[in-house]
Symmetry: C2
Subunit: 102 residues, 2 copies
């Protein structure tokens, strides 16, 4: 990815049960990946319900637009009401990076 670029770190803990989460999560990944300025995404959740998702964007404006996207706002609302016990969102500027492949 060409610098400067930005990372959104989303850490969360899920509530018990699905409640339509998986379907909405898949939709949001698909929708996010079509947004202007989207560069990529990595997401992991373990069996205890702890999750970290990092998405990458080419500007703060692109992140702001995605935050305010109508369908994403609906999902955020549902997240607070039903899906998450707690979450944090951190918007970060990537300063340095290093990759290793075996």
């Amino acid at each position: 990815m060409e610098k400067p670029y930005y990372a959104v770190i989303f850490t969360s803990e899920r509530t018990e049960g699905d409640h339509g989460y998986e379907e909405m999560a898949d939709k949001m990944v698909e929708l996010a990946s079509k947004q202007p300025g989207f560069l990529g995404m990595e997401s992991v959740r373990d069996k205890t319900g702890q999750g970290i998702t990092v998405s990458y964007w080419d500007s703060l404006e692109a992140i702001q637009r995605w935050k305010e996207h109508e369908a994403h706002k609906t999902a955020q609302q549902k997240g607070k009401q039903v899906w998450y016990k707690h979450f944090s969102v951190r918007v970060c500027k990537v300063e340095r990076e290093y990759f290793f492949e075996m």
Copy 2:
């Protein structure tokens, strides 16, 4: 956490088998948490071996010192040789944050 602060995003995929990984990982978490400038850590790995660890630091210098810590360097070497198929390290400045508790 007081701003400015920094996040190190470590994404990785593990090789098969333990090979002393869990013991070393626990040691590294303990050691990292004692370093000057360490603010916290969040870590998730799923059953497929995909993992994301985010550590938080009060300065780029603290991150650099931890990178060059002798015991950590030994672990990094072992990581490349044995534990990881691939990994990425991204050093980021946190620009904005938002927290939600149910």
